[in-house]
């Protein structure tokens, strides 16, 4: 019992991230509306980013800005005192790229709407099959 409880407490965060990822994936697979699909894609994306950032968390550490002052000479920095900055760097760029790709996805959706006058996937497919 103790073992299972320890497992749950140490990993429930990951499980919630996976739930979120699956919500996004389900939205991409099952939703019929193109904008809903894009929302699902973004949820999936942010869930992965969330998971990635959570890898860098260290218990008892502070944000990755090194303590500094102008007059005191540099002291040795202990890496264990600061949160791992590497996932932050990689994901920071990924967020901005994700908004750029969101713009492209919405542009495609708007173009599809201009041609077919609908955003529903099944209606678009029907229009394509029966010209």
């Amino acid at each position: 019992m103790e073992e299972i409880l320890g497992l749950v407490i140490a990993r429930y965060n990951y499980w919630i991230y996976i739930t979120l990822m699956m919500v996004g994936l389900y939205g991409m697979i099952a939703k019929n509306n193109l904008v809903k699909k894009i929302v699902g894609m973004n949820i999936f994306q942010t869930a992965i980013i969330l998971f990635y950032v959570s890898i860098g968390v260290k218990k008892g550490a502070t944000i990755p800005i090194i303590e500094h002052s102008h007059d005191v000479a540099h002291q040795a920095v202990r890496a264990a005192d600061y949160i791992n900055p590497l996932p932050h760097v990689l994901m920071l760029t990924a967020i901005v790229v994700s908004v750029a790709t969101l713009g492209v996805a919405l542009a495609v959706a708007v173009t599809v709407y201009q041609r077919h006058q609908t955003l529903e996937e099944d209606e678009i497919l029907k229009q394509i099959r029966e010209p």
């Binding site: 509306n33 973004n42 950032v53 919405l106 955003l119």
Partner: protein, 81 residues
């Protein structure tokens, strides 16, 4: 990191995400997605990823919501699911 706050915001994030997919109105989905992004930003601030939280606050909750609204404005609000 305060685990109660963390758990509360995680629940809210999941609820906002499900809500953004379930609601039958695309404008509402856009707004709920903005709320989802903001909750996500809070989550990152709790984790100590300040730069990522800052980016998400300006990008996710700000610009991407506007993009969604701009796209919905030129298409349609109605949706079947």
């Amino acid at each position: 990191m305060i685990w109660q706050l963390d758990l509360l915001i995680l629940t809210l994030v999941v609820l906002c995400g499900i809500g953004a997919l379930m609601i039958r109105d695309l404008l509402g989905a856009a707004i709920l997605f903005g709320a989802y992004s903001f909750m996500m930003c809070l989550l990152w601030a709790i984790m100590g990823a300040v730069d990522v939280a800052f980016t998400e606050a300006s990008v996710g909750a700000g610009v991407s919501t506007v993009f969604f609204i701009a796209a919905v404005y030129h298409t349609t609000r109605r949706t079947k699911d």
